[in-house]
Subunit: 324 residues, 2 copies
């Protein structure tokens, strides 16, 4: 019954401690003197952050902007007359002129894995750091939470526990952190999902990041196959930057292994999108337009089991051979 | 891994089915042709409902009102310039004149257990039905969800699993239900807490509501002791209505056994509240002012283990004997 009541003792504090140590192990964020806000995943954090910024802004609606290609989920941040996502409508120049607009910086970016910095200079920028983990990219300097005091994180992209809905924000300002926590899990997040998160995170800590190494090995192997496959496909191009940089986690240079393949189809038949082409070969994807890009772009998820990935490569190879 | 991904198969539908059957067993709400929206507890539902109503209202702020004594938690619905809870400021006449204001009807009411109907006639009223379960009150007609298409419910007051954060709304309008679900658990509620809720609810169903009978027996015994104790306390009064009515669950008349004692202190020393008096005898309580009432009122929680309740009764008896 100690765990039945509203605030089961020791759960939240243990999860918070685990998360701070996890960031230290991965080397992806400084958390000293920062507040941790918990929510049921990072998706609710995205919308409640816009609500809070809206409630203290003067104009209606609050405009939210991200550079293209942007995460397709941001379009659902638009909410009544209160919040409007304008990533599609406004280019960088227009956004820069829009004084009250808030920039979302996804880094590494979804869909392409690009390492990004803010384009606009605003007092507060929202950093979506979902993919800033060693299995996806090199870890150079840890994210400077003091300089950028609002970043959003999710367990789903670290340990895979998407259905447990565990997200958190690293927040510098106490008043903002309190306001966020009042909207996200105001009476604590579900105890059971916190316990699963504690188990998963403490396992990562105890094994000194074995899952990071495993994920890197898996994704490195997959990207080798992807790059091999695209090498002779003259009508299809990988559009991920696949940057490399010195990686403090392994103490050597690491080339990015993002979880999504972001690609372009060249010489498409009229009226046909890259997504149409892929789907006609039985390949699941999300069309470029969801990310603010032309229909010649598409995103393929690499969050699949190995047998599924192998079939995906066969289908791509077949498409390359048949249409190019 | 089938349960690791975003939408684990069969979980949400099984919980929803359990909840519809639970309402049927308790006889407290009709759910046919109604949509169920899930959230992490009913507290987030309260605020997201006001956000959605605000986003489609013309004026700023959206005013939310409830008749006194009102649930103390409603004051935290106030949010920036967007939403303002005016239960404290506006009496019934003022509220009735405020055309765009939204009424919250808590029935049975917190703090006193009163069975309530809307005071204002508005197109949409929000019903907070947290305490509409057989352990707290008689079950006459099931709540007519078609006539009142927005009611909020929580597992914490049925099976006690407060820390699992499982709340739901019964909603008539599909568009409103979709808008609510977009803000509450947009990618599903945490799987683990849903599984705990499924286990708990299916147990209640399999035992044909044994917990309702157990809860009634417990609370009936406690209220007998409370009423006995107050009988000779001329300076203290029970302020719960403790109504009785025909109960379809047991097929006989049942007198309410609410989970909170709502009381008034008479002949208080100057500058002293009822809460001060209670606390000076070591009794935990919440002051009447949180519920929009004078400081001569206070609410005591009966959600305590039996030994704690027995000590509470001793302390009350001591206070009655010493101060009256």
């Amino acid at each position: 019954s100690e765990r039945l009541g509203y605030f089961p003792a020791g759960i939240r504090s243990r999860l918070e401690e685990g998360i701070r140590r996890l960031h230290k192990l991965a080397g992806n964020a400084l958390t000293d003197n920062m507040h941790i806000v918990f929510a049921d995943g990072s998706t609710p954090l995205l919308s409640l952050v816009t609500m809070i910024l809206q409630s203290s802004s003067k104009g209606l609606p609050l405009k939210v902007w991200a550079r293209k290609p942007f995460y397709s989920g941001y379009s659902s941040l638009s909410f009544g007359d209160l919040v409007k996502f304008v990533g599609q409508e406004e280019n960088e120049t227009a956004a820069a002129a829009d004084e009250s607009l808030v920039e979302f910086v996804t880094s590494p970016n979804n869909p392409d894995g690009e390492i990004r910095s803010p384009v606009l200079s605003r007092p507060l920028t929202v950093f979506d750091k979902a993919y800033s983990w060693p299995m996806y990219t090199f870890m150079d300097e840890p994210f400077n939470s003091s300089a950028h005091p609002l970043s959003l994180w999710t367990l789903s992209k670290v340990t895979g526990h998407a259905s447990s809905r565990v997200g958190w924000a690293i927040v510098g300002d106490k008043a903002l952190a309190d306001a966020m926590q009042m909207l996200a899990c105001p009476i604590g997040c579900p105890m059971e999902s916190q316990m699963v998160a504690i188990s998963a995170i403490e396992h990562v800590l105890q094994t000194e990041g074995e899952i990071f190494k495993w994920g890197r090995a898996k994704f490195t192997e997959r990207w080798r196959k992807i790059e091999d496959g695209f090498r002779n496909a003259s009508c299809y191009r990988i559009r991920n930057p696949l940057a490399q940089g010195f990686d403090r986690f392994s103490q050597k240079v690491y080339k990015q292994t993002p979880p999504y393949l972001w690609m372009e189809c060249l010489n498409l038949p009229a009226q046909k999108s890259c997504g149409d082409m892929l789907r006609s070969f039985g390949i699941k994807c999300r069309d470029g337009e969801y990310f603010g890009m032309p229909p010649s772009y598409a995103r393929l998820s690499l969050y699949v089991a190995t047998p599924v990935f192998d079939v995906l490569m066969q289908k791509l190879t077949n498409m390359f051979a048949t249409t190019c």
